[in-house]
Symmetry: C2
Subunit: 391 residues, 2 copies
């Protein structure tokens, strides 16, 4: 069983993540390894913490990359903030809210759930109504639902949660570094993300930030955190001044994250958010010009991930594989309730570029025509072009 040299195809990654990685990030990742307590690595850690504070727009001291993917960040947040019997209000309008509901009972928490249809955002009143029915320790919301492409406004909900004495936990996996997210200004108590979306770093780490109220919960726990690997009080001692060994940090992944964050800093947050918005507007204009229908109303549309209904008569099981095979473009299908009904098109981080918008629209137009769906030739690119011209 001799195996060939690794030779993965060169894809344009326009799915829900991972996104394409900037060559500088790949180069950084391949830098020589040092030990996890090497002074040179301790400096990388400190700089990464500073850069993460910058992208999270926070002064939170407990702001670090966890040694697992975004789902590890979700588990770490819920497990560290919840003890046996604690009530957690989970807002479910997609796959990742659902996932939170699966996790909470595993650390002894009680789920109180509110729901909105997949593809819609929550009205703050709905959260307030639920809180009036009984106190909870934690309100858990998804900022950017990767399964639906919905962006959840958070400021008002944050005010409500705190008024009822609850903490606010936010899933920012698909927003951090691509969509406005002001942890301090919006008074978010705990927030986690992944590296492989708008930060355009390979998957493997989960940036997380805990504010003063959340740190207070850590300090006043009666019981140990359900997970040793994700126990933030232990991990913090390695990332803090003590440098107490906890586990061996993924050195190369941290190199990559630092470089990805440097790229964010060089571009600037505002410019980056504007780029994500502009490229999505062009994509949406093109899709609509093709006669396709968007799932999410404009008001709640997530700039980093666009969901579009698969037109009647088009076989989803044919178009997506052809995009991959003939054009090396990855987009994704729907999850859960939306399986077979939508495509999910990501324009995240380094993937959010004008050339990718034009490439995808032209490839999609070609394939839809080829699959027998009538598309007005050239309209999509013209519509996208107009968005750029008027910007």
């Amino acid at each position: 069983m001799p195996y060939t040299d690794l030779n993965p195809p060169v894809r344009t990654l326009l799915g829900p993540g991972p996104s394409n990685v900037h060559p500088r990030v790949l180069r950084a990742m391949a830098a020589p390894l040092v030990g996890h307590l090497d002074p040179a690595f301790l400096q990388v850690m400190d700089e990464t913490k500073q850069l993460l504070k910058f992208v999270f727009q926070t002064e939170n001291n407990l702001t670090i990359p966890l040694s697992g993917t975004g789902s590890a960040g979700m588990e770490a947040s819920l497990f560290n903030l919840t003890e046996e019997g604690d009530e957690v209000l989970v807002a479910v309008n997609g796959y990742f809210g659902e996932r939170m509901c699966q996790m909470v009972p595993r650390c002894g928490g009680q789920v109180r759930r509110i729901e909105a249809p997949w593809g819609q955002a929550f009205d703050p009143d709905q959260v307030e109504d639920a809180l009036q029915e009984g106190m909870v320790k934690l309100v858990a919301m998804v900022h950017a639902e990767t399964s639906t492409g919905v962006l959840q406004p958070l400021e008002e909900i944050s005010e409500i949660a705190h008024r009822y004495g609850a903490l606010l936990l936010v899933d920012a996996v698909t927003s951090l570094g691509g969509v406005e997210l002001k942890v301090d200004q919006w008074d978010i108590d705990a927030c986690y993300s992944g590296t492989q979306k708008c930060l355009s770093c390979p998957p493997g780490l989960s940036p997380i930030t805990f504010g003063p109220r959340a740190e207070e919960v850590l300090l006043s726990r009666r019981t140990s955190v359900g997970s040793w690997y994700l126990d933030l009080s232990l991990i913090q001692r390695y990332w803090g001044k003590e440098r107490t060994y906890h586990h061996t940090a993924p050195i190369s992944m941290n190199y990559a994250l630092r470089e990805a964050l440097r790229l964010v800093q060089e571009e600037g947050l505002e410019a980056r958010f504007a780029r994500h918005r502009l490229n999505q507007r062009a994509l949406v204009a093109g899709l609509e010009a093709m006669g396709l229908e968007l799932l999410v109303p404009e008001e709640y549309r997530l700039p980093s991930l666009t969901t579009v209904r698969i037109p009647a008569g088009v076989e989803e099981a044919r178009v997506r594989p052809r995009l991959l095979k003939e054009f090396n473009i990855e987009i994704a299908g729907g999850l859960g309730d939306l399986k077979g009904q939508i495509w999910r098109i990501g324009l995240m981080g380094h993937s959010s570029r004008r050339e990718n918008v034009f490439l995808l629209l032209s490839a999609l137009e070609y394939l839809l025509c080829d699959e027998g769906f009538s598309v007005p030739r050239g309209d999509a690119l013209e519509a996208a072009g107009q968005v750029y011209q008027s910007s």
Copy 2:
């Protein structure tokens, strides 16, 4: 706050891990990213599973790399095999046995502990005596104690554990790929490792294998596993035929692991184990020729990690930093009970090379003399050279 280009020093990594990474592994890691459900990545997954079976010397179907470091493998093993009230016999003769004791209660298990002095191995009788005192579900042993340099013989203990109806869980973090480890032949039920030791891959993944009895435990659990992120039944559905999305696998890390495993396969397991043994024998001969004393008796000495007592009169706080600063060589000090008393010298994977043995011995001789400890000049290198000549 502009940050400089990443420019880590080029270290010779002779500590307890990470070890130096082969350039081919760094190159593989920087290959273009593909999606976690891309057919090209699914092939990488399948090949990695096959290669892991080869290094674990097992036919176990559930043999995969977990998306976390070695400690995540420890937690996954204990959490998946243990339910509320289950008794786990943990053999503690170092830091990592101690860590298991910290983890078990977090998933509701009861720790029954046996102890041996740090630096010594367990006698099988000690395990049998403990089992006679009452049944346990699981016996947890460390094969290669990274904190002490002890190699624990396992065959007899495996027979005993099974005779008493218990499963055997083995920590092989510092042995897999460098020291003989026969999962099937020794009838080990569950075993985990890390990538950054004898496999010479960057840290970030934890290879794990579960045999039929351990899989049966997964299937017959009454309650959910304490961790969602490390729930092997869920993870297996992504790594198995179903390809059900669980979390986004760390793509680049998996590229790296596949390449590191290919290097193991090309060298051959026997040749690799022999190389680790030979280089350690040369190192030990050199250290002893310098008048230094080994912590572990020859019989239980771990080929991948050598522990040596810091001679009286030598300031540990000076020698190790000078090795790093003046020679770019990393070795480690002692942990826990052995803090300040020993150095830990790793010769693991790509770091286990004759040139590293000579480099370290010559640098250590120079520094010990410089620090006022009388070392017979030249004897260490001569003794090491003789080991290679007679091999």
